[in-house]
Symmetry: C2
Subunit: 115 residues, 2 copies
DNA sequence: CTGCATCCTCCGGGATACTG
DNA sequence: CAGTATCCCGGAGGATGCAG
């Protein structure tokens, strides 16, 4: 198993690179953070909150996140259509990790200002 | 300041997206992990350890990592040239974070197998 | 040994229009 | 409302050769 505390094996598949593929790309973090902050959200609501994202990218990114098990899609059989998205428990466990990533970058930039 | 524990502000510049830009791309994690595991390493040694990387990508990626303050380049004024690379303290602080990312992906995949 | 210059390919991502 | 279909472009990344 993968023991936390180990160094990256630097072999394929590198688990860290796998993680970066899951949350990489231009929009995934934005979507995850939005769903985490505001909870369950509908498609068009999400589109309004995440500025400048196109339908193409929102739809394909949501599909990828769902396939990777990071978000859940709930479809209500109504006319007009009604679909809701929310993060999974696995994705919730990711939040503190990416949060510490943000803190790390903050400190990195603070130290650069001193130069 | 950026307080750990906060949600991602989902505004530009998102600190998490900034972090992903610093360590994203095809080779950065590989290089960081290699330098972290093996310590100070010369250019060609690095090229041998990181399989399939071209000179173009190794050189440009190393330069980016150096500009971002993640690695240090030490040049010895010799003929033939002798250059050594190692991670900075700031980069060392990143290791446990990306390590927990790896652990997170591992558990994500384990849970998928049960389906 | 440690790179840089050049050229090329592929695909992430955007614009626009259309649909059940 | 919640997406698909289609076309397109720029930039990340690869191959090869040259240089100090």
């Amino acid at each position: 198993m993968f023991k936390s505390g180990n160094q990256c094996p630097c072999v394929d598949p590198c688990p860290i690179s796998s993680a970066l593929r899951l949350i990489g790309g231009k929009w995934k973090i934005r979507i995850i953070c939005s769903l985490n902050t505001d909870g369950t959200t509908r498609y068009n609501e999400l589109k309004r909150k995440i500025n400048d994202i196109s339908n193409t990218m929102l739809a394909t990114t949501l599909k990828e996140l769902e396939e990777d098990g990071l978000i859940v899609r709930t479809q209500f059989m109504e006319i007009p259509p009604h679909v809701e998205y929310s993060i999974t428990d696995a994705c919730a466990e990711l939040i503190p990790i990416i949060d510490s990533l943000g803190a790390w970058v903050y400190h990195l930039n603070e130290n650069k200002k001193k130069d």
